[in-house]
């Protein structure tokens, strides 16, 4: 079948069913097979072995968040490049210069980020 239509995605649906079925079954079976002896201390958070202080719902460094925002921006930008790369030969020299100017603007932003130290992790 050489259709390139939605039928190509049917095997992916089968894969999803097989993998999902495996995961659910294994979780269920291992839940039944294992012994169950609960205790207050046993069900405590292990953390590092000694009694834990407070819980882990704590705020963390904003740098992780900043990295995530920048990732979203760069990811969307990379997505734009895929159609361009596929048609690269057809678009020829014009397409090349279009992308140079596009990437130029992105690179200005990238150097701004580096200059402002937004991705500096070794200071606090």
């Amino acid at each position: 079948m050489d259709s390139n239509g939605p039928i190509d995605y049917l095997p992916i649906a089968i894969t999803v069913l097989v993998a999902g079925g495996f995961v659910v079954t294994t979780m269920f079976v291992s839940n039944i097979l294992g012994p169950k002896r609960k205790g207050k201390i046993k069900l405590d958070t292990f953390e590092c072995g000694i009694e834990s202080q407070g819980n882990a719902r704590i705020p963390f460094s904003i740098k992780y968040f900043l990295a995530a925002i920048l990732f979203v921006l760069f990811d969307v930008e990379v997505i734009f490049l895929y159609p361009w790369a596929v048609d690269f030969r057809k678009l020829g020299m014009d397409g090349f210069w279009e992308m140079i100017s596009y990437m130029g603007v992105i690179l200005i932003g990238f150097f701004y980020i580096l200059k402002k130290g937004a991705l500096k992790w070794d200071t606090d």
């Binding site: 079948m1 190509d8 995605y9 049917l10 095997p11 992916i12 089968i14 894969t15 999803v16 097989v18 993998a19 999902g20 495996f22 995961v23 294994t26 979780m27 079976v29 291992s30 839940n31 097979l33 294992g34 012994p35 169950k36 002896r37 046993k42 069900l43 405590d44 958070t45 292990f46 953390e47 590092c48 834990s52 819980n55 882990a56 719902r57 704590i58 963390f60 992780y64 990295a67 995530a68 990732f71 760069f74 990811d75 990379v78 490049l81 895929y82 790369a85 596929v86 690269f88 030969r89 020829g92 020299m93 090349f96 992308m99 990437m103 690179l107 990238f110 991705l119 500096k120 992790w121």
Partner: protein, 343 residues
């Protein structure tokens, strides 16, 4: 081919690919311990069966029989969801990899690939990006500070290296002109392996593959010396097994993708001159692909037992400040060469 035959054939192939990846992942754990033992001048596992060959089976049975401990303060549903997502995403990537050309039996062509979608690489990227949830949800639901730190590290590491990986793939797509993995593999006949045209791109890709699979030198999410067990500190029984197992399946799949994208996939130079029948060629192709995959799996292990771990700031600097500019440079050079030299 009728629709029912198509569905039956694909279902059989899906289950076959699934079982093969499970068995290879199982024996990768064994191989890892043997390789480590060899490099450290030890013997390694040798109790269960001859040469310890039944060790992975024993480990699997043990995982099933252990008690499940779900901490009282954790979020139960998310605690179970985390490892399930990790395992699920690593299992569904194999669907787009071309394991060989196709077998011609009884007037039908049976392609040795679950499905050839014309955006194959993007499917792999999409599944990789969903894989982040498994670690993040599991680490957060544990309600353990070390798990939270491990999960944060893992997710920011994976998303940072995804950008450079995407840019490396774009340079490759510029030379191939297609996103279909079958098309890319089929174009690399003889010595026209993509590694020859994209050496820098391959270097970037393999570094990113190490980071995406959380393997040493990028295994910060579970760096034992500072984070106990990282994001899976609180896990036990099969849920822990899923996290560990998912890592090995990911290693197998990324080895397969590296072989397909850069090392000719099922192609081997000079094999076309032997004048073998197409079916023999297809089977030989599968053998060659698996030989390449095993080499890469060995390479993953070799690196793990040779190179020490990065520090977190070094890891982020490498991803953002070196690999991203380098991959943009690689793109520009590739485009320039294609346009000027191959007009």
């Amino acid at each position: 081919m009728t629709l029912s035959l198509f569905i039956i054939y694909k279902a059989v192939l899906v289950i076959l690919v699934f079982l093969i990846s499970l068995v290879i992942a199982m024996y990768s754990t064994y191989a890892e311990r043997k390789v480590a033992a060899f490099m450290q001048d030890r013997i390694g596992p040798n109790r269960a069966g001859p040469f310890g060959l039944l060790q992975p089976v024993a480990d699997g049975v043990k995982m099933f029989m252990k008690e499940e401990i779900i901490p009282q303060v954790s979020n139960k549903f998310l605690f179970i969801l985390g490892p399930s997502v990790a395992m699920f995403t690593s299992c569904i990537t194999g669907a787009v990899i071309p394991w060989g050309t196709s077998l011609h039996i009884a007037g039908h062509d049976f392609a040795l690939q679950v499905t050839d979608i014309n955006i194959g690489i993007l499917y792999v990227m999409a599944v990789t990006s969903i894989g982040v949830y498994g670690i993040m949800i599991g680490g957060w639901a544990s309600n353990n500070k070390y798990s939270l730190l491990g999960a944060l590290r893992a997710s920011s590491q994976m998303i940072s290296y995804e950008v450079a990986m995407g840019l490396a793939i774009i340079a490759l797509v510029m030379t191939t002109g297609t996103l279909s993995l079958k098309g890319i593999a089929a174009a690399q006949t003889g010595w026209h392996w993509n590694i020859v045209y994209q050496p820098l791109g391959f270097l970037i890709f393999i570094i990113c593959a190490f980071a995406e699979t959380n393997r040493t030198p990028f295994d910060l999410p579970e760096s034992d010396s500072e984070l106990i067990g990282g994001y899976h500190t609180e896990y036990s029984s099969m849920k822990l097994g899923f996290y560990l197992f998912a890592e090995y399946i990911n290693m197998f799949i990324s080895s397969a993708i590296m072989s397909t994208l850069y090392f000719g996939g099922y192609n081997m130079p000079f094999i076309g001159r032997l004048g073998l029948s197409p079916n023999t060629m297809a089977i030989l192709g599968v053998v060659f692909l698996f030989a390449k995959i095993f080499f890469f799996i060995f390479f993953f292990m070799w690196v793990r037992w040779t190179i020490p771990r990065f520090r977190f700031d070094q890891l982020m600097n490498l991803g953002w400040k070196i690999l991203i500019p380098l991959s943009i440079f690689n793109m520009a050079i590739t485009g320039f060469i294609i346009l000027v030299l191959h007009k």
